[in-house]
């Protein structure tokens, strides 16, 4: 607005002023129209091009998510719909006091912890070995990467065959090497089932660590090692004081990702043992699946699914708290 300054009197603007103002006003509206024309066209384009994605994701992720969460507050049994009811937090309470929930959560933690830790160690060894220059390095790296490339279905079936009690090669090898006296039923024995499945998972996860750590080793400057050599450091000291600390961010990211992914690893366990024998390999995911799609308890299953998400989130946050020091 015009500032009339200290003048207390209001001077009537001349007719010329009004006319100029009108013309200026029209020009500005014209410009605004042209600008908003382009903006409108752009907006139309954006909406047109984003709409499919938004619709798809909205309908296939957010809608089901809302459905699942709302189901978690109900008793909703597919094969017995008469008993459907609103339960509030009933399902969650039921889970917290259920032995199956805690036992399967424990198995999940065992499964994830063992898989990630051991796979990390072996992957680290491979990365360190393959970091050096050598003949056929590309080929050898490729071999190391192979288990990651094989689809989980094939992995599971391959190992089920290897673990086969009567015709499986593993038993034969172990006996020949003198490690065991007679054939064992690795997947059928509740005491060895979880370990057997963990071993398969380690086999499949190791390449991931190998490749991530190889990538993390690349940018480490040679000068650091040279300087430490001058100071008389041993190879072990080099590794502990130079390599490891510099690898820390990579290790953190890789392990965190795997922890989150392995908490939801379903196919491998389901194909190999379906959670058995006697729930020996029933991790939380498997428990959720069984409740939802074998017993058709959609309400309880959804609640368990939500709890799985919460637990994963808690683990991730805790992990970062502990290990991601600034």
């Amino acid at each position: 607005m015009a500032d009339f300054g200290e003048s207390a009197t209001f001077k009537e603007p001349s007719k010329r002023f009004y006319r100029a103002a009108k013309i200026r006003g029209l020009l500005m509206t014209g410009m605004k129209l042209r600008v908003s024309e382009k903006k409108k066209k752009d907006l139309f384009f954006i909406v047109l091009f984003l709409l499919p994605s938004i619709l798809v994701l909205g309908g296939t992720i957010f809608l089901p998510l809302a459905t699942s969460i709302s189901l978690s507050f109900q008793r909703n049994i597919l094969i017995d719909p008469n008993r459907n009811a609103f339960l509030g937090i009933g399902n969650y309470v039921k889970a917290l006091i259920s032995q199956a929930f805690w036992s399967s959560t424990g198995k999940s933690l065992l499964f994830v912890g063992a898989s990630v830790f051991v796979a990390f160690l072996i992957g680290l060894s491979l990365a360190l070995l393959l970091h050096k220059r050598m003949k056929f390095r590309g080929f050898l790296r490729g071999v190391g990467l192979l288990p990651w490339v094989i689809p989980p279905v094939a992995t599971a079936l391959m190992w089920v065959w290897m673990y086969q009690p009567h015709y499986g090669i593993l038993n034969e090898l172990l006996v020949r090497l003198g490690i065991i006296a007679e054939y064992g039923d690795w997947l059928g024995n509740p005491r060895t089932a979880l370990l057997s499945v963990v071993i398969v998972n380690i086999w499949g996860v190791t390449p991931f660590f190998m490749i991530m750590l190889l990538a993390g080793l690349q940018p480490i400057p040679v000068q650091l090692y040279e300087a430490s050599r001058v100071d008389g450091a041993s190879k072990l000291q080099e590794f502990w004081y130079i390599t490891l600390p510099l690898l820390r961010p990579t290790i953190l990211v890789a392990t965190l990702l795997q922890i989150i992914w392995q908490m939801r690893n379903f196919s491998l366990i389901w194909i190999m043992t379906e959670g058995g024998p006697l729930d020996a390999t029933q991790t939380l995911v498997v428990h959720v699946y069984r409740q939802a799609f074998r017993l058709y308890r959609f309400g309880y299953g959804s609640a368990l699914g939500v709890m799985l998400s919460m637990i994963s989130l808690a683990i991730a946050v805790l992990y970062l708290r502990v290990f991601a020091r600034k």
């Binding site: 590309g138 094989i150 279905v153 499986g168 690349q218 389901w270």
Partner: protein, 282 residues
């Protein structure tokens, strides 16, 4: 710099390192080798006790007989149809969205992209229950629609991310130059940007195809009859209660693994180099 690195790390000379490396890699590759060997055995050899390592009469009959079986062909086609459809939808949708995210950057676009990526953090099992309920409501269970829609849900976010990153490598000045010459946005997208982004589109397509082809849990849950089952689900049902034809099963497993292995072999060199820095010469 790279040369100094080679000089310094030196060759993997020490015998111990070599032995360790070869031993590790042998152990790692053994299961795969065993799978291949088993698939080449005859019915009699496969259940020989004690198990023999190499097949004395290697044969390709397992692979051939698989194809003759009516059911296997059906499963293969199901997998193929679902994978191809999902891939097409994902590539088209993600390239459109990726372009928007790349060219029209603003605060809301960043937030939206973050939300889309965060959906990848949700466990599939939780969403699957909701998906199953909704599909059942609409009567889409046990259909190609169900599988395509569900697979797209979990692949699309990452595809959009890939798309955006790829379009970012194409300078927007190109767009503007074209538009100054009179092209509309649509024409710029179709005629100019898209052809340039072909490698990115191929990468997205490969990712979508292989992820869908290998997918197990969704297919297992949303299909209830044999005629709709995809390859991974159908194969696992071949493990019989009493007698399983392991050689046939291993052959089928190999066939399932083919797309992934093929892509891996083709891309191996550039993939590993890209990930671990191609500066060091072999």
């Amino acid at each position: 710099m790279a040369d100094r690195r080679i000089e310094f790390y030196g060759k993997l000379g020490t015998g111990l390192s070599w032995v360790l490396l070869i031993a590790l890699l042998l152990v790692i590759s053994f299961p795969i080798v065993w799978m291949i060997l088993t698939s080449l055995k005859t019915n009699a050899e496969v259940i020989a006790i004690p198990p023999r390592f190499f097949p004395s009469q290697p044969t390709l009959e397992n692979f051939i007989l698989l194809w003759r079986e009516q059911d296997f062909l059906r499963y293969f086609c199901n997998s193929l149809i679902v994978a191809c459809t999902t891939t097409t939808i994902c590539v088209i949708t993600s390239s459109m969205a990726g372009y928007v995210f790349s060219r029209f950057k603003s605060r809301w676009s960043e937030v939206l992209l973050m939300v889309i990526l965060l959906t990848q953090m949700l466990p599939v099992i939780l969403l699957l229950i909701g998906l199953f309920s909704l599909m059942r409501l609409v009567g889409l269970l046990n259909s190609y629609y169900a599988l395509v829609i569900s697979n797209t849900a979990f692949i699309l976010p990452f595809c959009i991310w890939m798309g955006k990153n790829f379009f970012d490598t194409i300078p927007p000045e190109l767009d503007e130059a074209a538009m100054l010459d009179g092209c509309s946005r649509h024409q710029v997208f179709i005629k100019i940007v898209l052809p340039l982004a072909r490698p990115g589109l191929v990468a997205t397509a490969i990712f979508a195809f292989i992820t869908t082809w290998n997918e197990y849990m969704i297919a297992l849950t949303l299909t209830s009859t044999d005629s709709m089952r995809t390859l991974p689900v159908a194969i696992t049902k071949l493990i019989g209660q009493y007698a399983t034809r392991w050689n046939r099963l291993m052959a089928a497993s190999l066939i399932i693994s083919l797309p992934a292995i093929a892509i891996f072999l083709i891309l191996q060199r550039s993939f590993i180099q890209g990930l671990t820095g191609g500066a060091v010469k072999e």
